[in-house]
Amino acid sequence: MILILLCLAICTVAGIGAWLTRRSPKLTSALGQGGAVSGAALGMVGAISVMASGIPEGLRCSWSVPFGSCSIELDALSAFFLLPVFLLTGLAAVYGARYLSQPKYASRLGSHWLFFNLLSASMVVVIVARNAILFLMAWEIMALASFFLVTLEHERESVQRAGWIYLISTHLGTAVLFFFFILLGSKSGSLDFDSFQSAGEVIGPQATLLFILALIGFGTKAGIVPVHVWLPEAHPAAPSHISALMSGVMIKTGIYGIVRTLIWLDNPSVEWALTLIGIGGVSGVLGVLLALAQHDLKRLLAYHSVENIGIIFLGLGVGVLGQATGTPILTVLGYGGGLLHVLNHSIFKALLFLGAGNVLHGAHTLNLENTGGLLKRMPWTGTMFLVGAVAICGLPPLNGFVSEFMIYAGAFHAVQSLDAFAAIPSILAILALALIGGLAVACFTKAFGIIFLGQPRSQHASEAHESAAAMRWPMVVLAALCVLIGILAPLSPVMLRPVILQVAPLAALLVSDSMAQIQTTLAVIVGVMLLCALLAALLLWRRRTKLTGRARADAVTWDCGYAAPTARMQYTAASFAQPILRLVAGIVRLPKRFTQPKGYFPSAGSFSTETPDVVEREAWAPAFRIVERVLMRFRWIQTGSIHLYILYMAITLIVLLIWKLW
């Protein structure tokens, strides 16, 4: 606990220090980065020690604010969520310091490091807070700090818009949370989380209302459909390491909130599981479809966050199903898979966003249609990006597969053992996961293939260069973690055990049983994957021996007889995604811009597609417009005529007199 407090103190002080020394970019950078890294390191030690010992550490002191108490606690669940926070804070700080070393950022380093450190500190407080007021304050500071980070380059119109959308959605989400916490507090008698813990019995029929409020409130931060609209706006607008931090861990605080809520409102029902899985499925599928339609790498990645949050929801849904039906193996696999995916997604999504940062840095564009062939020019970045891409598709042997496998396994267990009604959610979960998996492969072959493979499609891309070491090594660390978690998969249930026990208090024996079962399965999988790797190595060796001494020619790509292919003739991102998108044209509209070549000697023609967010355009924007139009209709009230104003007074007086004296 003391380490966490120390970490908070260091982050805050370093942030303020960095702001005070903003006139000297070097000092600011050093302070900000140093504070974030050392704070993260200390905190990491603290979190790991709690994870290892399994004994919660708490601290409680009074706080002179109405209903507030300064109580914080580090239990298994908090510690688990803190792991990625500290990991990414440290890495993003290292990366960011280098990323922002360009002169154009010099003037805003101070505020950047202030808010960066505040964001880190507030995320930690959100996760360890045990009082609603403290939680909400940290929650809002987190939102505001990230808002200012997103709008770091606020001169651009698109960044302003993104910041605005983000600010509004986070605030509306928080408003729902106000309602949620107050309602929960009014049932349990206090705004301390301790009292929520025992509120389960008192709540009764309002539990479902509370559950829905939590879903909306926390879901907005997590980015579930239909309240995800800020994600694809904010992530592209922010500097890459900020996107990594936000997408990697900040949105996970929403998941943290939902898991906490599930602890408070025990006795979930099958309907809840169905809700979670429904939301998860829709978020996952819509997220990946919209990702497929994007040609801006960071937007694409942002939509993948929506998708992965959907997968996490599927896992949680299976876990809830297990709780509702009293099937421990489901609980263990569902919660286990969902929570592990939280960690995994933090790692590979951060990896990919840092990769996007390097692409922007090296090739000066994030538009897929202007890239190509970067793997040759940026081998480190490209390879690490590939690792991230394979991991996010949930392909073996990397970490994404482990968590997805657990969710699959849980859902199949449900299909196997539950009655028809209870099996439906799990069937939906499996089908959604399968569809998401297939589409994710399509999407990331597109992203990786178009950016890093083939030939450069623009001048910038052909002149791209690899990034500095400080921008590569964080990626290497993350990629290594992807592999490591994949290989050490059998250990993951051990790590998750205290967390699962906390989320769903089952008899320890039952958990151990299920755990042992999963561990063996995972061990076999790792074995099979090693076999696979062995086979691949064998084939590589065979090919090498076959080819030694034979003719090996380097040539141009076979051009089907056409003599002068250019890089512009390659398949583009838009054309790659077109067949899939056409199938779902009802959901994902593709406004096209098309200039047809004309005349006998046709000159330039052009074709491009862009995909706005369907939910934003079809639901939120019209809703906002309607509210605005309705409200504007009352503008005549203030006409400027004093006669009318006094008439209002007279009418008010007379109406009140008649009404009240009747």
Binding site: Q638, H643, L661
Partner: protein, 211 residues
């Protein structure tokens, strides 16, 4: 005896509603001031006689003389001699006045008498005068008319005060008088400025601040 005064006051209200000439309006208001100064003297509160007399004289002086004088000056300065084109015509105003009178009596009937010694018509009449003031402010364009309307309203309120002779202490009564005086004074100054910078004192054209 008091009832006679009340009837007269109702009449002044109607006269005020039906007239468009400023000078006439100012005189009506002055007359009201004088009438309401007389009310307490005709009541049956002998023990407060000295104080009431002093107050009556003072209000007579201010409402009946100083303010009318001041307003007449403002009228000449701003050259607003006649309310040309009110939002509600003078005849229609009278009709509204009748409705107001009915409403006032209704409201008064909802407020039961606490004490039989209280003047029976006071509530209704004062409410009526207040409503007349309100209506004039709403329906007339000239700033000066609005000030007059405000004064009528004040008179209405004041009628109630003196009729019940609730012993609002001396200091407060003075304060009330002073406040009304200063209010009208400040309004006069503003009217002066308005006529200077706008060339008119039609307040419906003072409507650039909207939304």
């Amino acid at each position: 005896m008091q009832d006679l005064l009340f009837v007269l006051l109702i009449l002044t209200g109607f006269v005020f509603l039906g007239s468009g000439r400023m000078q006439f309006g100012i005189r009506t208001v002055a007359l009201q001031g004088i009438l309401l100064g007389l009310i307490p003297l005709l009541g049956n509160l002998q023990d407060l006689w000295a104080r009431l007399t002093a107050l009556a004289v003072l209000s007579l002086a201010i409402k009946g003389m100083v303010l009318p004088y001041f307003l007449t000056r403002a009228m000449h300065k701003s050259k607003a001699l006649h309310e040309d084109n009110p939002f509600v015509g003078f005849t229609a105003s009278m009709v509204v006045g009748i409705i107001c009178l009915g409403g006032s009596f209704w409201i008064a009937s909802r407020l039961p008498f606490i004490d039989s010694s209280q003047p029976k018509m006071a509530v209704a009449v004062s409410l009526f005068i207040v409503l007349v003031g309100f209506f004039v402010i709403i329906s007339r364009r000239k700033a000066l008319s609005q000030v007059l309307g405000y004064l009528v309203m004040e008179n209405g309120v004041y009628i109630f005060g003196v009729a019940f002779a609730v012993d609002v202490p001396w200091l407060v009564e003075l304060g009330v008088l002073l406040d009304v005086f200063v209010a009208v004074f400040v309004m006069g100054i503003v009217i002066f400025h308005i006529s200077k910078s706008f060339d008119h004192i039609d307040t419906d054209q003072l409507s650039s601040l909207t939304g």
